[in-house]
């Protein structure tokens, strides 16, 4: 198989790679905020349960979570594994990344001085207004570099979808590598990821720059 054929075949999986990437971000970025709010809840039961869940998700391999969510329903209640693996893959990725984002947000929220809350309180802002208009915009700016880090990792982590044979770029490359006994598909995959992440860096850099109007 020629290099060009490999590249074309693997490119066909890129749309699925992108699907995992974007859908995971769309779900996990807001979900992470919800998890942070639960984690910071004044209700001790809610906050400790959330803390425990975060700890389990961060403490076990994403690969294991992918397998559990894809095949777990079959082993537990006998549900047939759907042929479209995108749903379980995105669910597993979203939960996993939400746990990491939640901890990043938490650090960001904790870093905002008490004075900001007090100033808003005296000016008459409600708790919700204070969070959305005063605290959150500052948190976003502060956590952006850490978020970028996670997003870069996510690009590479999409390759883990091969464990449930979801036909994204890396899975296709791995299959070609096996059938052709060739290492070339892995090199191609490496280049793909590198270019993808160069784009991520560029976009996140732009956003960071845009938020640089104050410090």
């Amino acid at each position: 198989m020629s290099l060009l054929t490999m590249i074309i075949k693997m490119s066909e999986g890129l749309s699925r790679t992108c699907a995992i990437f974007f859908l995971t971000l769309i779900f996990s970025l807001p979900l992470g905020m919800v998890v942070t709010l639960l984690r910071r809840s004044k209700n001790k039961i809610i906050s400790s349960i959330t803390r425990a869940v975060i700890s389990v998700i961060r403490g076990t391999p994403l690969m294991l979570q992918l397998l559990a969510i894809t095949y777990g329903p079959y082993y537990l209640v006998g549900l047939t594994v759907s042929r479209n693996k995108l749903v379980p893959v995105v669910v597993a990725f979203s939960i996993n990344y939400a746990a990491y984002f939640a901890e990043i947000y938490r650090g960001g929220i904790d870093s905002i001085s008490k004075g900001q809350y007090e100033a808003a309180d005296v000016l008459g802002y409600t708790k919700t207004q204070t969070f959305l208009r005063i605290i959150l915009p500052q948190v976003i700016k502060r956590v952006l570099p850490s978020i970028t880090n996670e997003v870069v990792t996510l690009v590479k982590d999409t390759s883990l979808a091969f464990t449930v044979s979801y036909q994204e770029m890396f899975t296709i490359g791995k299959e070609i590598a096996n059938s052709q006994t060739s290492f070339t598909p892995f090199l191609v995959a490496g280049v793909f990821y590198f270019v993808f992440n160069a784009l991520v860096d560029f976009v996140m850099g732009k956003i960071e720059k845009k938020l640089n109007y104050y410090h």
Binding site: S113, G115, Q116, E118, A119, A120, D121, V122, L123, G124, Y125, T126, Q129, R133, I134, P137, Q138, K141, Y213, Y214, H215
Partner: protein
């Protein structure tokens, strides 16, 4: 007799075992400038924080104009008015912090206009016009589009004062407004407060600037250990204090 803007009666505030305010009463009339002086830990800032609802009192009564915002009921528990009423009561006062606490992500102008538009639902054009006038008054008209991080501490504190004023409060509290500033910048902030006093703005100022307190206030309160030790006309408190503790505290100042 002019109307009372603020009345605090028999205020008690404690943190776990320590009683920080022990039966403090303070009332402020319209147009009055009251300075609160005293050593660190005497409870002066806590008193302001209780008056502005940043801290909850453990006993006593807080009343703004005709609204009782908090009082001790028959069972001895402190009851605050509900959230909506409290929001309304908060519109009676403004607070200027030691650390300014401007919103860093808002421009100077937006720091002034955001709350009146969002909280008081006032017309944005009108609010902006008033804000620009206040900036002019505080000598910051060319800084409307700047961000707090681009300003000196003195300028930031002037913005904070303008921000509080833009909500048209009946009374303005200052919690050590110049303590975070070097002497050079202190002057420009004190000048603004002096101008407000001349315009008969009702103010309560917690401060370590003794000469300023003496010059600007109508009444001086000396606090120590959670009590009001002495209060009265500034010339009397500074010039001829009646209490031994006041004399001791002002000794260093009067020697200068």
């Amino acid at each position: 007799m002019s109307k009372k803007i603020l009345q605090m009666k028999n205020i008690i505030k404690s943190y776990s075992d320590t009683e920080v305010l022990k039966d403090i009463s303070l009332s402020v009339e319209e147009g009055e400038v009251v300075s609160i002086i005293g050593p660190s830990g005497s409870g002066k800032s806590t008193l302001l924080r209780c008056a502005t609802f940043l801290e909850k009192i453990n006993g006593g009564l807080i009343q703004y104009l005709d609204t009782v915002a908090a009082h001790t009921n028959e069972e001895g528990k402190v009851v605050y008015v509900n959230r909506n009423q409290l929001t309304h009561v908060k519109s009676y006062f403004g607070l200027v912090f030691q650390q300014f606490n401007l919103f860093p992500h808002f421009s100077v102008l937006k720091n002034l206009t955001h709350a009146p538009i969002l909280v008081q639902k006032r017309d944005s054009k009108e609010v902006e016009q008033e804000a620009r006038e206040l900036l002019k008054k505080t000598g910051l008209e060319d800084k409307a589009d700047a961000y707090p991080c681009q300003l000196s501490g003195g300028q930031q504190q002037r913005v904070a004062i303008a921000r509080a004023l833009n909500l048209n409060p009946d009374i303005l509290f200052f919690d050590e407004p110049t303590s975070a500033l070097d002497p050079e910048l202190t002057g420009e902030v004190l000048k603004i407060i002096k101008e407000l006093a001349d315009e008969k703005m009702t103010m309560v100022i917690v401060t370590h600037e003794m000469s300023f307190a003496r010059a600007v206030s109508k009444r001086v309160i000396f606090m120590d250990g959670g009590f009001i030790v002495e209060e009265g006309d500034p010339e009397q408190v500074f010039g001829d204090p009646s209490q031994e503790r006041t004399k001791q505290f002002l000794k260093n100042y009067n020697q200068v």
